[in-house]
């Protein structure tokens, strides 16, 4: 099996400021984070950011997004992970997304991709694809999801960290 669940978090009552995964072993090839989050921001959505090893510097990226009416692209000095639902979004909706980080323990700059949607059973729902770079040669040993607007993640928000391991299967050759 190439995908291993490393850890899973479900937010309890009262909410949390961030979801943190620490002491990530360097034994996998890639990492993947899958989340469903609702934040306390008084809006239909909130932006979920990600940081590695507790650092918010040397981050950059480009996004491609659509909201049902128009598409746009931009460059940002932060790391988008996706959208969460905000407190005015349809009840019981959570923004869902996935972040994929290849070669996370290598001694090269860390590229990653993210995609997600801010769920809302009304207008103002959106879809995001993000291309990110953490320009650091440090191995990633921890990562955190947090609200760009510094709001709390609400109860029942979840995030799961997976390790993806390279390998080979008898019969398949590569040349």
């Amino acid at each position: 099996m190439a995908i291993t669940k490393i850890a899973e978090v479900t937010v309890g009552s009262g909410g949390v400021a961030s979801i943190d995964f620490t002491s990530i072993p360097g034994t996998y090839t890639d990492l993947m984070v899958v989340f469903g989050i609702r934040s306390g921001r008084a809006n239909h959505s909130d932006e979920v950011d990600i940081k590695f090893n507790g650092v918010t510097t040397n981050l950059s990226g480009r996004y491609l997004s659509g909201d049902g009416a128009s598409a746009g692209s931009g460059s940002v000095p932060v790391a988008f992970a996706g959208y969460s639902a905000g407190s005015t979004a349809t009840a019981n909706t959570f923004g869902n997304g996935q972040v994929y980080i290849p070669n996370y323990s290598g001694a090269t700059a860390k590229s990653f991709s993210a995609e997600g949607t801010g769920e809302n059973n009304a207008t103002n729902s959106s879809r995001l694809i993000f291309a990110g770079l953490w320009n650091s040669t440090a191995a990633i040993t921890s990562l955190s999801l947090y609200s760009d607007s510094a709001n709390t993640f609400q109860q029942y928000s979840t995030a799961t960290l997976y390790g993806i391991q390279k390998g080979s299967l008898a019969g398949v050759t590569v040349s």
Partner: protein, 163 residues
């Protein structure tokens, strides 16, 4: 998870190569997933994907692209490959590609692909491709349009098992 992802093969290029080919892929999975992280040599410009050694004009794709300022869309019909970075990128620009190849072992349908890719600081793409063939895919080739895949490029192939 509703599906399992099985590692089939991985290569890390120790020297530049024009093409990496995964061969003898068994038809025992539902889908395939290709993950690429690496870069191209000068003048190569594009990562591209071919199946079963078919270099004919049997590939079609449509893409949307963001460059940090605006979003655009384009397409190509009867092409000789499915471009995984369908815009010219510079040499040595770190690029990440995740391509899903659906129902690759089926012989009653053309083969569809969905790709998310980006080159750092240049573009981000989402690409939908089609190989106009009902043949089961038994080999997948990743190549540079011209020139080479740079040393250090990592390419992994996974099989996806239905739940």
């Amino acid at each position: 998870m509703a599906s399992a992802q099985v590692a089939l093969a991985t290569t890390t290029l120790g020297s530049a190569a024009s093409t990496v080919t995964f061969s003898s892929i068994p038809a025992t999975y539902r889908d395939l997933r290709l993950v690429i992280q690496g870069s191209l040599s000068a003048g190569s410009n594009y990562f591209k994907l071919n199946f079963n050694g078919d270099g004919g004009a049997n590939y079609n794709y449509v893409f949307m692209r963001g460059d940090g300022t605006s979003a655009t869309s384009g397409s190509s019909s009867n092409d000789v490959s499915i471009y995984q970075t369908p815009s010219s990128i510079g040499s040595g620009v770190n690029t990440m590609i995740t391509a899903d190849i659906f129902d690759y072992g089926q012989t009653d349908k053309h083969k569809s692909t969905l790709t998310r890719s980006h080159s750092d600081g240049v573009y981000v793409w989402a690409i939908a491709g089609r190989w106009a063939s009902t043949s089961a895919i038994t080999s997948v080739a990743v190549a540079a349009y011209s020139g080479n895949l740079n040393s250090g490029t990592v390419i992994s192939l996974y099989g996806i098992v239905s739940a």
